[in-house]
Point group: D3
């Protein structure tokens, strides 16, 4: 179980409920996933984290699907099991097809490979890549 | 300098030149960046790595820009300096604006943060996120 | 199960038992956790690892609680499930409250985020931060 | 140079200057380090990141020195050069002595070692470490 | 379960079966492990990944056992549970004894420790280590 | 420069000199690399780290070359610049040829790739890979 346990909606303070309500309204769902329930023992972190994610993940010059796939790519690189499960679900909800998932994984795998080849071979940055 | 040195075009074997030529033709550039010149001491790895990247990075259900931004997101997560420089350049060439870059970094940063919050709080995966 | 299995006290050689006894005496507990039982198939590594941890984790200019929280911060960053579970328990035993845990996780999360923002933006080190 | 360049105070918009002013007032310094100048091209991320750090790093049940040392421990684990330089400076300013630094590094090194031994030996979590 | 499910031999297309057959022939086994069955939903990635592994893991100037132990060392460093389980099995099949495993883990642990000590102390590369 | 500076032989205490002497005798060299000079401000860590490395890297059921290549593989995976430079030199001294280096990097790159593919596809461990 989560280190500090999970705070269910019925047991939550008004401050926590307000965040839960905003999560459900923003995501158009009727349930709260465990991540938020685990953070809820620290209402300041719950509020700050949710506000940041809400702001960052809102569509801008990148659309919601692209942002979710990037989130998944990072989570895979970091080998975070929970995050992979939750952001695979979120990316699918945002429109990721099986084929898009497969292409995404291929890029993530390749980047992780060449990141090591470059560093392992001690390759110097080309002048053309330097931002003057 | 790179561990095994760099193989310049004029010094390259026909096998290596063929890869260099294909890289330049595919990318519509007239130069080869250091990564490939460093790998060229091992022609089998040079060829295999280029073939894989060419196949993986070709537009499919994800477009070239999305793939380049994912590549950059992974490289940032892994803290690979060369890869960040080269894929920032590649993503810009594929159309990434400054605003898109800034949004991309915000997502990468946030994902790296919540990856640790989730794992640190020992949060269990919600049944809803499990694949069947 | 652990790759080489677990060596229980009753089955342990005198050399391994001596380490187990010292672990229990130092930690004032009456049981040995699985990590040590797994290492015990390699008595040299068991002994060396325990001696190092005993020396490093002893209170010095940093107290035991601070050291345990730093250990937990590293384990969370590395996404090591066993280590998070065991060092959360150890930190609590050393005095970590729920509020301290929550603040610790907030710092760990934030550091993981800004580590990537800094590197992703290719920020150069300020001269003021350089050590002479 | 930083990917999007650095925004100097004299060239900053009022919105960015307000953040810069708050950073200097909070930290009691008269200069802004490159990280913030690099983020300033994205005022929303600049503001959000600063607000989060200001809130998280304020003394609470953990004091400022402990928080800075945890920040440094994470940065070392992630091998972030800029972050190590800047947070070594910040931790020293908060009171970290050379001896405390040395003990901190010893703990960070050891944690990174045992994180891999535990996972490499495929050790199962002891029931005693599970939360409920 | 795997994100896209597993493709069993009896349900596989001729293209996928050809890869499965080559895996079993090359490895002299009569079953396919889940990794390949999971990739099989993306036949291009299945084929490319298998061809790369087949080529890379074939004995060359490094023998098969050394290559498998290196694969395991990387997987442990990255904390990849599946990979540790599968490559421990593969390394044993290639001749890794319990003693070799224990020595391998000791090296992996130590490297992970000193990687952080070096970076944490901000040590500059000795001129003697630079490649010309 | 290194955070605490470097301790040169002529300025070292007898305790530190004894370690330096043992390093040079064991490695059959006449100089000390910066890593040890940086650690020397903390003689306990200097001594413990050297003793551990000396013990771990001594030929056993794995020879010195294999151990050095594993050390390099881990350092590349962790993207530690200093460690890659120093252990490339050490591995070469132990007999690593250019061809062996190239094969080593190919394995390291591939392992980093498939580590992410496995985790990204959420592949379950095959019963055959489980230890007992």
């Amino acid at each position: 179980m989560a280190t500090l346990g999970l705070v269910e909606y019925k047991d939550a303070s008004p401050e926590v409920r307000a965040v839960y309500d905003d999560i459900m309204a923003t995501r158009k769902t009727d349930w709260i996933n465990n991540f938020w329930k685990a953070l809820a023992h620290d209402p300041a972190t719950l509020r700050r984290t949710w506000q940041s994610i809400k702001e960052i993940m809102a569509p801008g010059s990148l659309n919601a699907l692209t942002k979710e796939m990037v989130y998944l790519a990072v989570s895979v690189t970091n080998q975070c099991g929970y995050c992979i499960a939750s952001h695979t679900a979120a990316a699918r909800k945002a429109g990721m097809t099986d084929q898009m998932f497969a292409e995404l994984m291929a890029v993530v795998g390749m980047a992780n490979e060449t990141n090591r080849l470059v560093t392992g071979y001690q390759v110097e940055i080309d002048p053309q890549f330097r931002t003057s």
